[in-house]
Symmetry: C2
Subunit: 255 residues, 2 copies
């Protein structure tokens, strides 16, 4: 951020422009800088890092946040950020924040998360980026306890920019008494698939995705999953270079 200027803050999410979590983020960011919102016009949860290459995109101004410049976009969260950076923002944002997601994006959820894909998209473009998520799927979730932490984390990153290739994945526990912040690693966990098989009125089979979340590191206290389960805010420094560097030498002996 340039000194003595108001930071420009781009906001998006994956629950859509009307989501209560987005409104909380807009309110907190308005205390820090000039805000621009470009968010999906409908919920886009679990969109991963999808982008729209085979259809055109639409942008429409939305006055839901009063005097704050806001657009709804017909695309995915990653589309929103791409369009915002190219067509909406008058200059490069000092930071991009995503969320607050209704539901956790800790552990393996990060790879499915539209919230995080928006933040990753900004980070790939060289913009400071943070994804915020609350471990409560409810539309009536209570975000109040998250407010001071959101402000603190965002101001810290504005003052101490992350190196290229790194962004933050922040998850809040579902509690009114948060104990503090923990810097963590992504927990190893997965979903055990268990599709619910049904018949439609014509007798044809269809499937609903369900899955049991399996924590494979229950005993470790340095993971994001442990942090939120113990009422801490988890902050994971996250990257989009997926190379397993430690395995390169071994592989050179095999292939």
């Amino acid at each position: 951020m340039e000194k003595n200027t108001t930071p420009l803050i781009l906001i998006s999410n994956d629950d859509g422009i009307t989501a209560p979590g987005l409104r909380v983020l807009v309110e907190e960011m308005s205390k820090i800088g000039e805000v621009i919102v470009v968010a999906p016009d409908k919920p886009q949860s679990a969109m991963g890092h999808a982008i729209t290459v085979t259809a055109p995109l639409r942008l429409k101004q939305n006055f839901i946040f009063g005097s704050i410049l806001a657009y709804e976009c017909s695309g995915t969260p990653a589309d929103c950020v791409k369009l915002a950076l190219d067509k909406v923002c008058p200059r490069r944002p000092d930071i991009m924040v995503s969320g607050i997601n209704h539901g956790p994006n800790y552990s393996i959820n990060v790879i499915y998360s539209g919230t995080m894909s928006a933040a990753v998209e900004a980070a790939v473009d060289g913009v400071q980026a943070i994804g915020f998520s609350l471990c409560d799927y409810s539309a009536e979730a209570n975000f109040e306890a998250t407010r001071p932490f959101i402000k603190q984390i965002t101001e810290t990153i504005l003052a101490n920019p992350l190196p290229y290739g790194t962004l933050l994945n922040v998850n809040f526990p579902k509690t009114e008494s948060i104990k503090g912040i923990r810097i963590c690693r992504q927990a190893s966990a997965r979903y055990a698939e268990n599709f619910d098989e049904r018949k439609d009125p014509s007798g044809n089979t269809y499937y609903w995705m369900t899955g049991k979340f399996i924590n494979m590191e229950e005993d470790d206290n340095d993971t994001d999953l442990w942090a939120v389960n113990n009422n801490y805010v988890s902050v994971v420094p996250t990257k989009f270079d997926l190379t397993s560097n430690s395995f390169i030498q071994h592989l050179k002996h095999l292939l």
Copy 2:
């Protein structure tokens, strides 16, 4: 893989069940083991790691590969793998292969790639996984030069399983004379957005996504981008733990 048994090989892709690249992969895998195909019923490029949680999924048997068991699925590549593992495969596959994608998935493309998301999904579930891509978007792309490498890499991994958390991202150059295999890291690159702005017949604006690919590491010869640009097969050991471990200590001093 258990000794003295035919390996069970699950195949998916993101270009859809009729894509020529999928057929080449089915042919090569049939030389190695028993094959099951579960692929999208329509193209799903750039779907990232999207999964379908708000709509039901359909599976329909397809006889496009003759006696090989094949299903088309209404969902994303990641959906295909989840459904295949839960509802189609008679036992755990020994390996899952994805592709051959029509188009590159090197460098930053990995985060947008439906091909790689299918492979990642299998790997999260603990199944050995490889994504194969050819650096040629054409539907008439020539895959012949890739065949011996696909067989070699797959057999090597079946004989030397990857540790949990690691899969392979394999990209083939667009050439008939491939020089060999290079074990690489993911190149640092990004797309410079440049949306094409148009007016529809009603006078409303819409946008087509375009973007110029920018290689930020042109001088380095240990990246996947360098390898394919120099007619080598790039093999990147890839992981889905996105933690930037090297940044954890620094962040602990800031927050």
